[in-house]
């Protein structure tokens, strides 16, 4: 047992740290550290920078052009990116669909799709959820009918994160109504520029356009775009979910945000207020405990000696912690959390210069706090709601 990283791991971390420091655009990291709005360009330019280095697919095996890192290295890479204020990698391409294509796609599909994912040039979206499906993902209603060498797709997906930017979308579609709901699902890749695809925004409670509805109206999709076998899509989707790793806990982001919370608490004069400070101290304990749980998983993954089935716990705890730091930041702002000035979410916003510019009370850092709190309510709902996660955890405990 050892809490320290090996010299090799430390050297690896140092290499990542220096590279990130040299390549992450300062205007982007400034936005991330301030909780401000990221544009499509912000996200994609960072993806392309990583892509050029070969690190956008940082979890990919060497056979597919990835760096072939082990679990600890992946974690250290994630940590360095998070602490440096890099945008989170938009996961739908490199983290979600790519492993499915690697495992179940044909060599032709791999050659066709993986390079664009690895470079960050092609933006992928996820087409799982449908209106009414909620936590019951297998209740897929979007139909794909085989007609000659095409599928004709009709139906609707929803909660498609950043789908307004999507070039391609991977979808669960229903190709059969026989048997259990899970057995008639196929995994289909769809070009979002195809005729009949419509993307409509869903505005979230914080006023932001982050998710979408995607409609399919007689969309013709070449049969070549089917991954693996027809009606086996649920298997591939489960494979994908099983590969969601410790990053589900988002503990590195939590560490960065805890540091930000401390800065905000200082600026708002509550750092020395014993009651407020105790709340930060409790959160700090929560984050250390979560990080230790993540490290335990990494150690178990690397050594293979002990299995540690705590993915559900990491999701539950990680999401609760995200909500908690957002809540404390908002409460630190006090009355200055109340204003709602959407423009203030953009970096460089100066507001009305007549009153000295900036946010009311000139408390500019307070601008995104309430919105972030509202936004992060989603974390206990998406990715398998925390209620569903508790079902899963109790299954492992009670049988």
């Amino acid at each position: 047992m050892d809490l320290q990283f090996t010299p090799e791991e430390l050297a690896f971390r140092q290499e990542v740290r220096e590279w990130v420091a040299a390549h992450l655009p300062p205007d982007i990291s400034r936005k991330v550290h301030s909780g401000l709005r990221l544009s499509r360009d912000d996200m994609q330019s960072w993806a392309r920078i990583l892509g050029r280095k070969g690190w956008l697919g940082y979890a990919w095996p060497k056979a597919f052009g990835g760096p072939g890192w082990n679990a600890v290295q992946k974690h250290l890479f994630e940590e360095e990116c998070a602490l440096a204020g890099a945008p989170r990698i938009v996961p739908f391409g490199p983290v979600m669909v790519a492993p499915v294509i690697m495992s179940f796609g044909s060599p032709e599909q791999q050659a066709r799709f993986l390079p664009g994912i690895a470079s960050g040039d092609v933006w992928w979206s996820q087409g799982y959820s449908e209106p009414g499906s909620g936590s019951d993902l297998a209740s897929v209603k979007t139909r794909a009918e085989r007609v000659g060498d095409h599928y004709i797709v009709n139906g609707q997906k929803t909660w498609t994160t950043l789908g307004q930017y999507g070039d391609w979308i991977f979808c669960l579609v229903r190709t059969s109504n026989e048997g259990k709901p899970q057995t008639g699902i196929s995994f289909l890749l769809i070009d979002m520029k195809s005729p009949g695809v419509t993307v409509r925004p869903i505005i979230m409670l914080d006023g932001e356009h982050e998710v979408n509805e995607v409609f399919f109206d007689n969309v013709r999709v070449p049969a070549d775009n089917l991954i693996g076998e027809e009606n086996k899509g649920w298997t591939y989707a489960k494979h994908l979910l099983a590969h969601e790793r410790t990053n589900i806990a988002d503990v590195n982001r939590a560490k960065r945000e805890l540091e930000r919370l401390k800065r905000i608490a200082r600026a708002e004069g509550v750092w020395d207020d014993v009651r407020f400070r105790d709340q930060i101290a409790l959160l700090e304990v929560d984050i250390v405990a979560l990080e230790m749980m993540v490290l335990r998983v990494l150690s178990a993954e690397r050594s293979g000696k002990q299995s540690l089935d705590v993915a559900g716990l990491l999701k539950i705890r990680g999401s609760e912690i995200q909500q908690r730091y957002a809540e404390l930041m908002m409460q630190a702002a006090g009355p200055y959390a109340l204003p709602f000035i959407q423009e203030a979410m953009d970096a460089g916003w100066q507001g009305d210069a007549a009153l000295g510019g900036l946010w009311p009370g000139a408390a500019h850092h307070c601008a995104p706090l309430a919105s972030t709190y509202f936004n992060l309510r989603k974390t206990t709902i998406y990715g398998g709601s925390n209620e569903v996660q508790r079902n899963i955890v109790s299954q492992t405990v009670l049988g």
Binding site: Q279, I341, F374, I381
Partner: protein, 377 residues
Amino acid sequence: MDFDFTDDQLALRDAVARWVDKGFGFERRHHLAKAGGATRAVWQELADLGLTGLAVPSEHGGMGFGAVEAMVVMEELGTGLVNAPFAAGALVAPALLQAAPAEVQAEWLPRIAERSALVVLAHQERAARYRLHHVSTQAQRSGDQWLLTGSKSVVPAGDEADAFIVPARLSGAVDATDGIGLFLVRPGTAGCSVRGHATQDGARAAELLLQACAATLVCEQGFEVLEEAVDIGIAALCAEGVGLMGKLTAITVDYMNTRKQFGTTLASFQALRHRIADVKMQLELARSMSYYASLKLGEPAPARRRALSQAKVQLGQSARFVGQQCIQLHGGIGVTDEYIASHYFKRLTMLEMQFGDTLHHLGEVSTRMQDTAGVFG
């Protein structure tokens, strides 16, 4: 000891509820919020119902109603998610103006009651957090007039108001309770700049900058009046919160009874049933403490302050739990702008940051604790 409402109080409740039903549906509310926050139009409609004169003494043309009537109205405004500055303009301002010279009262109170003047308290300062006695805005005598210099933040409906009541320091250190005067300031006066903005809960507020701005004296020793007016504001928030939570709970119950997952309604999952039982608990505790808050407003300051802080602590805990859980019970739809539940949640959240948050008032409760315990302790 009696918690029944009188027939008059029930009629008052019905009147507000009918106006909400007929004229203040979600679409209008949503539209107002999108357009940058509620406008004077809604305030005007409440005036037309006679409600803005609720707390104005009858000699000034008001109804001279008491705390229970205010609670009844606030609860219905909460139920309807009405984003008008009613508490600020119709409850807190008249309480402050009670301390004003007769001619100031005669000038403003009838206009509040009858012609819908909107007067609001502008007390929040940058470094004050929730401490009412932290006042750095300076009041200086210059000849026969008072000039104020300083700035006030997040003034409710600040860019729609006809006047501000501004605490300003006549003497003493920045956090002394002595030496705080109350002044009336009109927007448009030289040296008074107002910058309005929308708020997270679909209303409006403003940043107020005073630079040697001429002001009318309300009273020279204003701290106790300020405290009492803020307590009236807290009781109003408690009642509004009960209305908000009651309606949000009802919306959630409806959703749970219709929305299906895994082939059955949400309402059939025991874990979610127990959650809604806990929501009901928090709602009823908050309602109990809202009654307590309103009924304690007439007590001497120490007992009143203690009770109002207790009530705000309960409100904070209940609003947080009910708001968060009702959104969670909805799932994805609960975090969208198009669905009404998220707007109830946002307003419930913002109650926390008004007139002192839960930690602030927990500190007040802790400081004011006595050896005895309970409602009458």
